[in-house]
Every structure is written in C-alpha cells, then in structure tokens.
C-alpha cells in the first residue's frame, strides 16, 4: 500500500497528497498524522490537495476527522489548494467541510496558522499579565 509522506517544516507538519488515494491510504494518513503531531509537538498541519482532481465524501470526511483529531492534540489544520471544480462538486455533493479551515495555497495556509498561533499565545500571555492585577490584594 502506498503511503502519503508527512514532512516537518519548523512548527508545521506538511502533507501534500499527490496520489489518487485508496480509502485505506486515507485512513493510514489519519493515523500517521496523529502520531507525528504527538511525536513532534507541532501546532500546525497543512494538507495540500492541489493535486487531487476529486474529493469524494470519504476523503472529505477523512479531512474533517484529521482536523478534529489535530485540534484535540493542540494543532490547527488548514486544507490548502482546493481546485475550483472540486469546490463546486463538494458543495453540490452536500459536503461543506464544517470545522475545516482552508486557504488558497501553502503560503496563505502558513500565514493563517502563524496568525492563529500568535492569537492563541497572545491571548494566553494577556491573561498572564492580567492575573496579578486581579489577584493582588
């Protein structure tokens, strides 16, 4: 069985799906990604689907599941590079990929993840600085 490679770039895991995946390959990717998120502590996942000429309900569901699993493991997922015809077909199929962040390309996906991370850390930092003021006697 073929396997989709997961690359670590800085704080991000990058997956570029370049093959017409069998269902088992998609499920394997789901497991591999969960393992890699835990092993690397990465906070972002980018899945590039620009090479996919279709996304059917199985692949769509797998992408949604990956996004949910990542979130539970403290990582955000962005799906990038969806072709226009794929987007049109997905919506007509009835699949709107709720809970999945998308960006048009890898660059924009990385920007999105950086912004999300900065917000998460900034928010936490803000609470830290506020805390003494609130708890001070």
């Amino acid at each position: 069985m073929e396997r989709v490679p997961v690359l670590k770039i800085g704080d991000i895991l990058l997956v570029s799906i370049q093959i017409d995946m069998e269902d088992q390959v998609a499920l394997q990717l789901q497991e591999d990604l969960a393992d890699r998120i835990v092993a690397t502590g990465c906070h972002g996942v980018i899945i590039d689907i620009s090479a996919l000429d279709i996304v059917d309900s199985f692949v769509g569901r797998t992408l949604a599941t990956i996004a949910s699993i990542s979130r539970v493991l403290d990582a955000e997922t962005v799906v990038v590079g969806m072709r226009p015809a794929v987007a049109i077909t997905l919506v007509e199929l009835g699949l709107s990929l709720p809970g999945i962040r998308t960006a048009l390309n890898v660059d924009l996906g990385m920007e999105l993840l950086a912004a999300a991370r900065a917000e998460a850390e900034g928010g936490a930092g803000h609470e830290d600085t506020d805390e003494p003021a609130v708890t001070a006697p």
Partner: protein, 135 residues
C-alpha cells in the same frame, strides 16, 4: 441512441474503486465533458463504486460512451448481487447511512449526474445507472 463499447471493471477492493475513478476520468475526457462535469461525474462514480463495494459486497462497473443524436455522454452502470436496499426513499435521503459514512453517497451522487436510475430487490442486489451528457 447508440452506445460505444463498454469497459468493465470488477469491484472487489479499495484499489478497484481507484481504478473505476481513473477509467471514468479517461472516458469523460474522451467525450469532452467540461472540467467541472468531469469532476462531478468522477466524484459520483467514486461514491457509487464504494457503495457497490461496501454495501453490495462487490460487483461490476461498466462505463459506456453514449450518443442520443444530439449530444454525447457517458453512461455508468454499477451492479451488485448484495442484500439490496429495503427502503429506497430512505436510502436516497441526505444524511441517512447504515454504513457509518456521511450518508451522502447515494443522494449526493444523484445530484452530480444528469440521469439516475436505480433498481433494487431485497436479497437480489442493486443496479444503478447514471448518465452525464455534454453541454
């Protein structure tokens, strides 16, 4: 209406579903469906071939070029000798599933093609025929 030679794929594994997608793509390009229509048809074929495998326990997919004198198109027939579908209306409802999927396969595939016919008998199997015409 005239039809060309049919190409047949036996569907028994995940790999065969990929093969169906590739065959449908090739024929869709050959009859010059638009890119969006190719994408819709291949997606519908993927859903239905997976149903043939998962619910029908495997079967066959036959892809034929068709021509009704005005337009050319593709007909795909998915046939299995599985358990059949007891309640067809329910099975064609968005979100209904018995297989742990999203329940979009049958209803979604129907929206992606121009013609959709289904024949099913409990205990005998299911045959689904879809057609997409060039615009």
């Amino acid at each position: 209406m005239t039809g060309g030679a049919a190409e047949r794929v036996a569907v028994a594994t995940d790999q065969d579903v990929v093969r169906v997608r590739q065959l449908v793509r090739t024929v869709a390009v050959a009859v010059k469906l638009s890119l969006v229509d190719q994408t819709k048809l291949v997606t519908a074929a993927s859903e239905l071939a997976r149903n043939t495998l998962v619910y029908g326990g495997g079967g066959t997919v036959e892809v034929t070029r068709v021509d009704n004198g005005r337009r050319s198109g593709i007909r795909i027939v998915f046939a299995d000798k599985g358990p059949g579908i007891p309640d067809l209306d329910l099975a064609l409802t968005d979100g209904y599933t018995t297989g742990g999927g999203l329940g979009l396969g049958l209803s979604g595939a129907r929206r992606l093609v121009d013609e959709f016919d289904i024949e099913t008998a409990v205990g005998e199997g299911t045959t689904i025929s879809v057609t997409k015409w060039c615009r």
